[in-house]
């Protein structure tokens, strides 16, 4: 995704928003769980055993690709999809840092008001 590495002013709807939107949907979370099993999967494999149509799976995969958390590669005539965890892990690490910062600030507040 060349957009992600481009140095420029922030866009309010940059990949972060896409990332959260992508994760805020049951069907896409189910697809992520399936891809999480490890090996690259085709659309047929991802559709099998679900009540989804091929078109629906394709649409959701596209959303996940736009968010940068799924990559596809051609394998012969087929397209295979794999999970790309780095953006999720980066966001998680960031939220954890912010969370720890609040923990410390609130302890200072506690000392301040309870003294």
């Amino acid at each position: 995704m060349s957009r992600r590495s481009a140095k420029r002013a922030p866009e309010p709807n940059a990949p972060q928003a896409l990332l959260f939107a992508a994760l805020g949907n049951r069907t896409r979370l189910a697809l992520i769980a399936k891809l999480g099993a490890g090996r690259p999967s085709s659309i047929a494999q991802l559709t099998a055993g679900t009540r989804l149509t091929r078109q629906a799976v394709t649409k959701h995969l596209r959303a996940l690709q736009r968010a940068g958390i799924v990559r596809s590669a051609r394998a012969g005539r087929e397209r295979r999809f794999v999970l790309e965890l780095q953006p999720i892990e980066e966001m998680q690490a960031y939220l954890e840092r912010v969370s720890r910062q609040w923990d410390r600030a609130l302890l200072r507040l506690k000392a301040f008001v309870e003294d």
Partner: protein, 154 residues
């Protein structure tokens, strides 16, 4: 993954005391570690100098959203792209912002404070610089400083 951080803490102090510590700009600055230039007023911007050692060149800027006495205090907070002196710019126009909300509830022993920070989807990956947020050693030291400062003062 939650698109929001939520924290709860029980404070052994009356709601009125906690409200003052949150909304009096001098008291807020004392525990939050920022020297604010003026009071918090809903709809207005408040700025101040960050008081962490090594980060004193940073300006903290918040736009106050709500002040519902002893219930809710909220502001949006301009994110800083570069924390190092060389690249830092105090111009926050167009900077991504997160929303911070403090909610207070009276309990049998004092106050239950709930803090949420949301809007992280507005913060592009390139903006999530770690310097300030990860200043662990500094923070721990500062906690001690402020605790002894407060103990002397009151």
């Amino acid at each position: 993954m939650q698109n929001k951080i939520e924290k709860q803490i029980e404070l052994q102090a009356p709601v009125a005391r906690v409200w003052r510590a949150l909304t009096d700009y001098r008291e807020f600055g004392a525990w939050f570690r920022v020297a604010l230039e003026g009071p918090f007023v809903a709809g207005k911007v408040t700025r101040g100098q960050v008081l962490y050692r090594g980060f004193e060149h940073l300006v903290w800027e918040a736009s106050i959203v709500k002040m519902e006495p002893e219930r809710l205090f909220s502001f949006t907070w301009a994110q800083i792209r570069y924390h190092d002196k060389e690249r830092y710019s105090p111009d926050y126009a167009g900077a991504p912002r997160t929303l911070v909300e403090f909610r207070l509830e009276e309990t049998a022993t004092g106050t239950l404070l709930t803090v949420t920070e949301s809007g992280f989807e507005n913060v592009p990956a390139e903006w999530r610089e770690q310097a300030m947020r990860e200043n662990d050693g500094g923070w721990t030291a500062q906690v001690k400083n402020i605790e002894s400062y407060v103990a002397q003062k009151r």
